[in-house]
Symmetry: C2
């Protein structure tokens, strides 16, 4: 659907993220039901607008007065969330039209993903919405989450949700829900805005990117995509976004088999993947191949600055892990920095005569002299002070004094705010989690595997190159 | 060192894993010191042989009578562990010779990895050992761990250690220690035998592989390697091993930069990597590029059978995750199975008329009819019963009833013992961990990322192909 007035407004989706009032159609008193969880989530987040549960068989739900229909609500309603069987949606849309509702989020499935009948239903939905000037997110989606603005339409358990600077655009409902829960419960980073697009009957990928491009809380956008609704507009939106902030994309349907599967489950054409691949590269979007990688890169962009170049210092308590990290550099586009003679001299002062400082820097000999935490601090500080080093990876072991070790690393990283730092930690799991918490709280991304850490740092450099090329062109 | 008698004996390293008695030279009363932790680890594991602490300044350590020297021990000593400064090692070796000790594990660093003086010291060590007919593990290593035999020489915290069927050969001391702790504390699988080779003054990679090849408790061998001591013997040992069990190798020094780094920290020549690459491929060893991948493949081989072919069924609660898994198949060598018409008919009976069963199989529509757990069970059972399916990946969400969901999946997997199954779980972290525990206890490997799951299943097929080729040749 094209709605001229709203389309031209770059903050066109604001109504979905910061509505003054919301009606939840299909609100339920039964815990565990979608229509109950959405209400509870709104209350738990502390949404400050008006909430109108709609359920003809209830007078009060979760302490809120319930209404028989949208039309029966005595006040203005900006946004309507529908969690009702698909065949009831159109009737509610007509109520929304009368009520001058601005946007609806349709959680219900049973539309274009559900055979011929569903497709027909979606076409009719779009027609009614266009006529009414109502914008639609969905159907078949978990919808919206705005942790800072305390608004959501999602039925996913929000335990552990945090506000942050990562914007997330997801195509598919269930996968998005699963990913959200994993993020809330296992990741330290927070989210700025989340939008599940579902079937994209109206609001599509390009709208979401345009909105996040101008959203000040969003520093990086991560995206799960299967196909795009309008290739030309998508490309234009990506172009605009990546001039302001990085975009990390996981796109399903990379292979022939995957593309076929994507088509059958969301009804979206994945398109020829080579075209996307070229498009992403040309537009400066960074493509990843798995959900874990999507989060790795997302948090690294959210936490760290962009490096000036690709010369990495690798500092490792374990020589072996340093070797593995070194091996991961060439394919990722990073090169080992060559420390200056005076840098090496600063190490030699402190190290046993037989040991040779270098890059990767095996700090075990140094740690025998200045303690392990002292070696982390000294080596990271000396190497980040070298003008020939653009970014650093520190590989640590777990320790019984995580706070001391972490504080040293954080202090040094803060003293070099222009150079990205990532940390790998291998060792005892509960001590790992303690270090992880302290480090990530201080915006230092933590990894277990060295390849994932190197790939994440390399992504910062790739985006820097893209921006440099842009500014050369202009 | 070549010791004819022992070399020809395939169980030549038995003395290191199952000694009747062990002396710990450098035993300490101070908690946290290496010489104390080794003793505590032996006691904690419940080692049933005799333990002789050796420390000239103590009469009793950890409740055990201490001796001034190895020579002063009144009984026979089979194995000696040394955790003392490098310059004292040779003197103790001479004591060991008098005492007819069969093997020594040298934890101490300060040998070939430590400059010219260290190299000279190692040469002398090897000379003395050869003369005395004593075999050496190390120096510069954490040494031995045999959870089933309750023996160890390691100073790594053993909290969480479990016996199992994965043999682990590690080259480098600190990295090995860090990896052990991660395995003990975060992984469900157990280890059969672990050997840290360190500087390989005597016992080398090929000895370790020969020993593990004949070790009945070991079902799969995982290995971290930087260089080999004797290429020809290594190749011969790999050849013998892979005829009996799979070998997964993470080799540092893959790139020019990595090879240089490996050389400088263990003094081992990484060798030209193309040669290793060809060697691994020809010999049927499976190479991985990161520590996380090493564990993924190790546990999958330990838990699951080899498939008869490469036709995979992908079953997913989330269509999107199913698409991502499908995309990962072609590059890994797996192909999507084409379910038989009667297989699809069994699904159609139960599914909404608009939905289409296929592969990847999006079970959301089915779960609306038979519940989520019912859909996992039915789809996995029906697809594994199809003769055109060789192996399966099931992608689940977390659930508030993990036991019920897991039991269903386990029951079906057990009913098809000849077909490998792996599971991806995405969702709330604590519920993930519960499902993880139950599933892995039942030998079903669990992953978060779909690519890692697909790569692990694909490794089973690669090894099957290698074995099939072998039997065709013979």
């Amino acid at each position: 659907m094209v709605n001229g007035r709203i389309e031209k407004n770059p903050s066109g989706l604001k109504i979905f993220f910061e509505p003054k009032s919301v009606a939840v159609v299909g609100a339920s008193r039964t815990p565990g039901k979608i229509g109950n969880t959405i209400l509870r989530n709104l209350l738990k987040l502390g949404y400050e607008g008006q909430i109108f549960p709609v359920n003809p068989r209830a007078e009060e739900i979760e302490g809120l007065q319930s209404y028989a229909s949208v039309a029966a609500i005595p006040e203005a309603v900006e946004l309507v969330v529908m969690a009702i069987p698909a065949h009831l949606v159109l009737e509610v849309m007509r109520d929304c039209q009368k009520k001058m509702v601005k946007g609806v989020v349709i959680i219900s499935s049973g539309f274009s993903e559900a055979g011929k009948e569903g497709m027909e239903r979606q076409r009719e939905l779009v027609r009614v919405a266009a006529e009414a000037g109502i914008r639609i997110v969905g159907p078949n989606t978990t919808g919206i989450l705005n942790p800072e603005g305390r608004f959501t339409t999602t039925f996913v358990d929000l335990k552990g949700v945090k506000k942050g600077s990562i914007g997330f655009v997801a195509q598919t409902g269930i996968f998005a829900g699963m990913m959200f829960q994993w993020i809330f419960s296992s990741q330290h980073f927070g989210l700025s805005k989340v939008i599940g697009l579902g079937n994209k009957a109206d609001v599509a990928d390009h709208d979401a990117l345009d909105y996040l491009a101008q959203d000040e809380a969003t520093r990086v956008v991560i995206m799960y995509l299967e196909g795009v609704k309008d290739g030309r507009r998508f490309l234009a939106s990506v172009d605009r976004l990546v001039q302001k902030k990085p975009l990390v994309v996981m796109k399903g349907g990379k292979t022939k088999e995957g593309a076929k599967a994507a088509q059958s489950h969301t009804g979206s054409m994945a398109g020829r993947d080579e075209i996307f691949e070229a498009l992403f590269r040309q537009a400066g979007a960074i493509r990843v191949n798995d959900f874990e990688e999507l989060l790795d890169l997302g948090k690294t962009f959210a936490y760290q600055p962009l490096p000036k170049g690709n010369r990495i210092a690798i500092i490792s308590l374990s020589g072996g892990a340093g070797v593995m990290a070194t091996d991961a550099c060439p394919e990722s586009g990073l090169v080992l920095a060559s420390p200056a003679e005076q840098t090496l001299a600063r190490f030699r002062e402190k190290m046993p005569p037989w040991s040779r400082p270098g890059n990767p820097f095996d700090i075990e000999p140094l740690s025998e002299v200045v303690t392990q935490e002292g070696a982390y601090r000294l080596s990271l500080d000396v190497l980040l002070s070298d003008p020939g080093v653009d970014l650093a990876l520190l590989i640590m072991s777990t320790t019984r004094t995580p706070q001391i070790h972490a504080d040293y690393v954080i202090e040094v990283a803060r003293a070099h705010p222009e150079k990205p730092v990532a940390v790998c930690i291998i060792g005892e799991a509960s001590l790992y989690h303690r270090l992880f918490q302290i480090m990530e709280e201080a915006n230092i991304p933590v990894f277990v595997g060295v390849r994932r850490a190197v790939a994440s740092l390399a992504a910062l450099y790739k985006y820097r190159c893209f921006l440099d090329n842009l500014s050369r062109k202009s």
